[in-house]
Each structure stands twice: as C-alpha cells, then as structure tokens.
Symmetry: none
Subunit: 141 residues, 2 copies
C-alpha cells in the first residue's frame, strides 16, 4: 500500500511537470482553457480509477471470500511449502500433473514429488481427497 502511495506521488510529480508544459503551450498559443482542464480531468480520473483499485484490491479479495482468509500459520503447522501449496492450488482447479508441470515450468516428476509430499502432509492418498481436505482446513478456496 505504501508503494502505491509513493507511486501515486511520483505520478503526480511527473504529471505536474507535464501539465506545466502543456499549460505553457496552450497559454502561449492562446487555446481554450476548457481543453486544458479537460485533459487534467481525464488524467486524474484515470489516475483515480487506477489508485482506487490498487488501494482496495486487498479489501475486495477479503470481501470476495468472507469465509476464507489465507493463513500462513496453518500451512506452517502442516509443514506445507510454498511450492507444494502452488501445486495444491492448481490441483484444486482440476489440472492434471502434466498441466501443473507446464504451468509451473517444472518437470512432471517434480510435480509428482510435490504432490506425494502434499498427500503425506495432508494424510490423504488421492488428489480429490487432498482438495477436499484442503478446503475443509481452509487452506484454499
């Protein structure tokens, strides 16, 4: 969020220079002020949309899934690593091991290893059970 604010500030700074430039051009050439103001309005509307979405994205995700909240602690307590979690997520989407491998740019064997470890940690023996259990444990969804 702080990064977004800084970006917004920087955008403003850049924009001020830009505005000063076109202000000069318009005034020198004696063009209408409405045009200038219109440009400002469009710029800041776009900037507002961007900043607004950026700042509230995290909130909207939470709103989107009221029941679910990502909990690193639960993953840690089960000993599930980052990569294993990624495999789990794609598994839940119904992808095959080969498709997961393609998506994560690793080999099929690697995905198999991850999924095997995942099954051990979740104490299941099939991917459908893993997905089911992960949803129960609020690990995904």
């Amino acid at each position: 969020m702080t990064r977004t604010i800084i970006l917004y500030g920087l955008s403003l700074a850049v924009l001020i220079f830009f505005l000063k430039f076109i202000e000069y051009r318009f005034l020198v050439r004696d063009l209408s002020m409405e045009f200038y103001v219109g440009a400002v309005a469009i710029f800041f509307t776009a900037l507002g949309v961007w900043a607004g979405l950026k700042l509230t994205r995290k909130k909207t995700i939470i709103i989107t899934n009221p029941a679910f909240q990502f909990d690193q602690g639960r993953l840690d307590s089960l000993g599930i690593s980052k990569r294993e979690y990624e495999v789990l997520e794609l598994m839940a989407k119904g992808l095959s091991n080969q498709e997961i491998a393609d998506k994560l740019f690793v080999s099929l064997n690697t995905v198999k290893t991850h999924s095997s470890n995942l099954f051990l940690k979740l104490q299941v023996s099939r991917r459908t059970q893993a997905v089911q259990k992960a949803k129960e444990l609020q690990l995904i969804q």
Copy 2:
C-alpha cells in the same frame, strides 16, 4: 453498470456547472490557475476512485454469494441422471471409483460408466475438473 455510467455522466454535468462557477470566481478574483487546476484534479481523482470501485463491485458480489441451493432444473438441463449425481457427490468427497462402487452396491464398471457419462455431460475429462465444474454450476456443495 449502465446506471453507473449514467451517474458518472450526470456527475460530470453537475461538475461542469460547478467548475464554470469557480472558474469565473477565480478568474474574476485573479487567483492562481494552479489552484483551480488542483481543485479539478482532486475532484476527478475522487470521481475516478468512486467510479472504479463502483464498476468492479458487482463482480465481487457475485463471487461473494455462493449460497447453495439444490436445483433439479440445472441437473435436467444438463441431462444428469439421479445415479450419475450420486456418483458426482461421492466423487466430490474424494472417494475412488472402487469406494463409490462399494458405497452404492454396484460394480466398479458401473461407476466407471456413470462417471464417463458425467464427464461428457459436464464437458470435462477428469474427476477433479468435474468436481470443480459442478461446484461452479452450483450442482453440489
């Protein structure tokens, strides 16, 4: 969405009148143009934030409400039979075909036939996809 656009348009109209008013005031009083442009910028930034959020909120609301209600009509429209639906439900619990067969007191081959037909009707090719899609279509869960 259309309502939002209309609201946005109306806001713009109101704003133009308002801007004309303060433009007049500022020019008459010979205040700095930067101040005027700043006001415009602030207005349109706020407007952009509001419009941006407004336009994306509906998506989240739809996702937010996964209230499940059994709908025979949806099953009928897909041509999914009672037995196929039972297989689907057990599938979603993470059971293997053999376990489903034992639970429904039928042979493994029968479960395979049901699941094959199910996959055709759901237009998927794997059980994990079937479960995923069935949840999307609000058939189960």
